[in-house]
């Protein structure tokens, strides 16, 4: 297997990157960690004429927060940087754990959060937990920048609202009023297996009453799927084991997983039932870890 020919640019800063992207438009592709892009190019699923590497844009690698404010994760932060960030481990362990449990060590060293989002595949592990926490993303072009709720970013497999001339620069996780969150994924071996089902949950508990809940499913539809019916089962209710099982059933019902060599629709649905129940249980018990 061999990479098809392309021209290669490694711009020194964001504005030059934007300028190049404007110039080449749909003929170009951004290269972040390359764990997905290079693989697709070898298989000729993508044959961009131009590759624009973001490797010199070190500012986009930072993970930071100012007290009382939003948390900012640069688009080039790798999955291992996210998993190992003490800031995330303290404040949003559910995000660092989601990064830690995905892919394998080699991929986590290279793969970035930006790539994981823009790639837009149903099995991606980071979007669901970011969506339940209400994350927004910043998209930059020569025209300026805009901020989009992550929940509204995805349109389908490999389809998003990003324009050909835009670069995703950061993920913004707002300060939380939720009390607990978690993401549970199910893969077919302990490392290096894509999720065949995943469930992210964020809840706001008041004693035993669930005041609000957001549930987003991975690998359950062409895009990260908000399980609204499951949410409705528990919101405003006193939480009981029976109720969580009902929420699981509702999530399974509204999910639309496809059948593939990794798992049948029927199997994935049932996994969503089980994982939803377990994720709710964990998020209710355990705050943001």
């Amino acid at each position: 297997m061999y990479l098809p020919d392309f021209d290669y640019y490694a711009p020194p800063d964001l504005s030059e990157a934007c300028r190049l992207l404007r110039e080449f438009g749909s003929r170009a592709k951004i290269l972040a960690g390359g764990t997905d892009l290079l693989h697709k190019m070898k298989h000729e699923e993508f044959t961009p004429e131009v590759i624009i590497s973001l490797k010199n844009l070190s500012a986009l690698r930072e993970i930071r927060s100012e007290p009382g404010q939003d948390l900012l994760i640069g688009a080039l932060a790798t999955q291992n940087e996210i998993a190992n960030s003490s800031l995330l481990q303290e404040k949003y362990r559910s995000i660092s754990e989601a990064a830690w449990n995905m892919a394998n060590n080699q991929i986590r060293h290279m793969g970035t959060i930006g790539g994981n989002i823009v790639n837009a595949v149903p099995s991606a592990d980071l979007p669901p937990i970011l969506i339940v926490l209400g994350a927004r993303i910043t998209l930059v072009s020569t025209e300026g920048e805009r901020t989009v709720p992550l929940e509204e970013f995805f349109l389908g497999v490999h389809k998003t609202v990003i324009r050909d001339d835009e670069i995703l620069t950061q993920v913004i996780v707002p300060a939380q009023t939720t009390t607990g969150s978690t993401y549970i994924r199910f893969g077919l071996r302990k490392s290096g297996a894509l999720a065949i089902a995943g469930v992210a949950v964020a809840v706001t508990m008041e004693g035993e009453i669930c005041r609000s809940a957001r549930i987003v499913l991975a690998a359950a539809a062409p895009l990260p799927l908000r399980a609204r019916q499951a949410e409705q089962v528990i919101v405003g209710q006193r939480v009981t084991p029976g109720l969580l099982e009902q929420a699981g059933l509702a999530a399974a019902q509204e999910s639309r997983p496809r059948s593939s060599i990794r798992g049948s629709t029927e199997y994935r649905r049932d996994l969503i039932r089980v994982l939803t129940r377990r994720a709710l249980h964990k998020a209710i018990q355990k705050e943001h870890i």
Binding site: L188, R189, Y267
Partner: protein, 774 residues
């Protein structure tokens, strides 16, 4: 012949975990694999393969590819010898390139040599092939149907191999049985997945061909390459550098050697050929998919009276080593348990899928899975503990199987008892909570095949040891092949022990048909015993020559001397001594080079019936494996918690390497148990020819693992050794299947026992149970 030392003797080199002789080169990255080698002017070659499972080749147009700058040659069947080849002489059915039909997605159509990799890939795309697509057979169960298309013209009904063996009277045994049970099992297509991809570099000098190859057997490569190109063996040199694993998948020459040799001849340049990962899967030669019906009759106490094995295997489009795989599948079922009546029926059919061959445990692991699962079902029915049932039937030393294999040493009973004790079996069978379970499987394997793959009277192994002029080092020359298992290390240990020398001063030149004497190579778990026997003999010849010479200086007969750890001494007066180096130097001065040689031919083995040769061996290893699993009963996820392997593998030459083999064998076995399966789409194209979706396990999936031994000494082997590398894969699938059964009460009859299969079986059981309750 080599004399046999008793197990009580003390040794100075063998039995110790010396460091691997190739360890430093490998961990520092110094070791060069075939793919790392470069030669001046070397071209890169690749093979164009068929996109269709079954198609007539109407026309091949190579003109555009030939015109691409940098392309040096484009060849098709017209440019190479048309005679058929195959590793199994009984069924030569493969051509270097397809002549009129392509038989599977991945079959070889043409090849290109060019100045670099990039040009080769471009040129491949420029070869135009016109195909007429034919109906394909992808389901082996339909291959023998009346209306099935014929895949290979010479094989009616697509039957590649048909076996009917009958020993004793199975029908009578069943009639006299207290309980007769039939179960059906299915084994999946698995692939060896060595980390190092296959590669070969071919160079010609006049009419002499040299091939560097990532091979398990330079000899078979040499033999078949020479045959294909009409060369004397002496004009073909095959050698390997370092090998990153084979597991059976690198035993037979591939298109890389044949097409590479042709391209190198035409271009007059060295040509490097290699497979990409997905091409390795397409070349395949991995484990057959196998359908296994087993019927067993037992008496009230669970003593096995008779067994009928009725199997069918999917061979894929070519024979590969599959005739042997087919025979092995049934032959080795008689080794572990002692029963007098046995019938074995087998069809190996052709399909339009990649050819299957020998994979670690050759033919045996899946039937073993089936039989071990089947036995647990019988134990369950009779209300017996699965270990008690096995102990009741376990083979004893010095016995003969119904298909006439002579079993010498056999510490199976001790192995089972030890596995039971160290795993706390009795307690765990009773106390483990729901979802947790413990199961046992037994295994066994040949320590080298009694007969080579093609008919020849060549010795099976040979070795030469040359001592350096001043005795400060010695070099072992052997055709044995270290593919990662450590044979270079243990053969040097054996050489040093036999010579009375030390391991640290040994060098080795192995697996080079020109520099080293003949050996059949790394397969059938043969090298420790067979290559080891030749090495021991060579070492003893060196030692005897030194003792002869030293005898005159000590003024005693040679018989009163011995050598160990570089000291030659008078046995009765050990303080009278000279160093090995001193005597060796004197030898060289007085008599010339100090050289010892050895060779090994196994004794005549086996019966006279058709196929009697397959499964014969000078010695058999035995193993008992216990696995503890935890099953998530909602998701079907199988987590291996802990496993215990107890092996009877004769005397151990290097404990660290031995235990590493057991760990690796279990690791592979567990992969095939739960995760691995080669999958195809409806047109015969592989869906998961990569390491993301062909899920070999990862380090994280490996349970806590204990590898233990029982005392054993094999009288038919040098220093009492037996095999371990393949035998330890054979019990794993059965022990995991039985552990899952114990944990959940569901029996998964087909491999792999994937999470989804376990989930589905549990769901169906719950549905059955709830229907029964209303």
């Amino acid at each position: 012949m080599t004399e046999i030392q008793s197990p009580g003797d003390t040794y100075s080199v063998i039995g110790k975990s010396v460091k691997r002789i190739d360890g430093k080169a490998k961990v520092t990255g110094q070791a060069k694999y075939t793919g790392d080698l470069k030669f001046p002017g070397m071209l890169v070659g690749k093979i164009l393969t068929s996109p269709y499972a079954h198609a007539r080749i109407v026309h091949i147009d190579t003109s555009a590819a030939e015109k691409l700058p940098g392309v040096k040659a484009v060849i098709t069947h017209k440019d190479v010898p048309s005679q058929k080849y195959g590793i199994s002489p009984a069924r030569w059915d493969e051509n270097i390139f397809c002549i009129d039909k392509a038989l599977f997605v991945g079959d070889k159509i043409a090849a290109v040599a060019a100045v670099d990799e990039e040009t080769v890939y471009k040129a491949l795309k420029m070869i135009r092939v016109e195909y007429e697509v034919l109906p394909a057979i992808l389901d082996p169960l339909k291959a023998m149907d009346e209306d099935a298309p014929l895949i290979q013209a010479d094989y009616p009904h697509n039957i590649n191999t048909e076996i009917h063996q009958n020993f004793g009277d199975v029908e009578k045994a069943f009639a006299e049985s207290f309980y007769v049970r039939t179960d059906r099992f299915v084994g999946q297509r698995a692939y060896q997945t060595p980390i190092e991809p296959h590669s070969a570099i071919s160079l010609w000098d006049g009419d002499k061909l040299t091939v560097y190859s990532s091979t398990q057997s330079p000899h078979y490569f040499q033999y078949y390459i020479a045959r294909q190109f009409g060369l004397p063996l002496g004009n073909v040199r095959v050698l390997k550098t370092y090998i990153g694993g084979g597991f059976g998948g690198k035993l037979e020459p591939t298109g890389l050697e044949f097409a590479g040799a042709a391209l190198a001849k035409i271009t007059g340049k060295p040509v490097k050929m290699f497979y990409d990962r997905h091409e390795m899967f397409a070349h395949n030669r991995g484990r057959h998919r196998q359908y296994m019906n087993l019927t067993t009759g037992v008496d009230k106490e669970g003593k096995i009276l008779g067994v009928h094995a009725d199997f069918l295997m999917d061979g894929g489009a070519y024979t590969s080593l599959g005739v042997a795989s087919a025979y092995y599948a049934g032959a080795l079922l008689t080794i572990l348990y002692d029963f007098p009546n046995y019938r074995f029926d087998m069809y190996r059919v052709y399909t339009n899928l990649p050819a299957c061959g020998a994979q670690r445990g050759h033919g045996h692991p899946q039937p073993r899975f089936a039989f071990e699962s089947h036995l647990d079902n019988i134990a369950h029915h009779l209300g017996l503990d699965p270990i008690d049932l096995r102990l009741r039937n376990a083979r004893k030393p010095g016995t003969i199987t119904p298909n006439e294999f002579k079993v010498g040493s056999c510490a199976l009973q001790a192995a089972i008892e030890k596995a039971r004790d160290i795993s706390h079996w009795d307690e765990k069978r009773k106390t483990l909570s729901q979802g947790r379970g413990i199961g046992i499987g037994l295994g066994a394997f040949v320590s080298g095949a009694g007969y080579p793959i093609y008919r020849t009277d060549l010795p099976h192994a040979a070795a030469v040891i040359k001592v350096n002029e001043d005795g400060s080092s010695a070099t072992l020359y052997t055709g044995a092949v270290d593919i990662g298992q450590g044979s270079d290390t243990i053969l040097c240990q054996m050489a040093a022990e036999a010579m009375g020398y030390s391991f640290e001063k040994m060098n080795i030149i192995s697996a080079d048909t020109e520099a080293a004497p003949h050996d059949f190579g790394a397969y059938a778990s043969r090298q420790t015993l067979m290559s080891g026997a030749a090495v021991k003999q060579a070492g003893e010849e060196v030692k005897n020559q030194l003792l002869e010479l030293a005898a005159s200086s000590f003024g005693v007969p040679a018989a009163e001397l011995d050598a160990q750890a570089e000291i030659i001494y008078v046995k009765e007066k050990p303080e009278r001594r000279r160093t090995f180096a001193d005597v060796a130097r004197e030898f060289f001065v007085k008599k010339g080079p100090l050289v010892g040689k050895g060779s090994y031919i196994p004794p005549k083995l086996g019966g006279k019936f058709k196929g009697a040769a397959v499964g014969t061996s000078p010695a058999y290893s035995f193993a008992a494996q216990v696995t503890e699993v935890e099953v998530d009963e909602e998701t079907g996820e199988v987590n291996l918690v802990e496993a215990w392997d107890v092996h009877d593998c004769g005397q151990v030459i290097n404990p660290a390497l031995l235990h590493a083999q057991v760990h690796g064998a279990f690791f592979m076995g567990m992969g095939e148990s739960v995760w691995e399966e080669v999958l195809f789409d409806k047109k015969g194209k592989i869906l998961n020819a990569n390491l993301a979706d062909y899920r070999i396990p990862t380090a994280l999936d490996m349970p806590q693992f204990h590898s233990e031994l029982v005392d054993s000494y094999e009288p038919n082997a040098p220093w009492g050794v037996k095999e371990v590398g393949e035998g330890a894969t054979t019990p794993t699938m059965g022990s995991i299947a039985n552990a899952i059964y114990h944990a959940t009460g569901v029996r998964i009859n087909s491999l792999p026992m994937s999470y989804e299969k376990v989930w589905r079986a549990l769901k169906e059981k719950r549905e059955r149970d709830s229907r029964a309750n209303v």
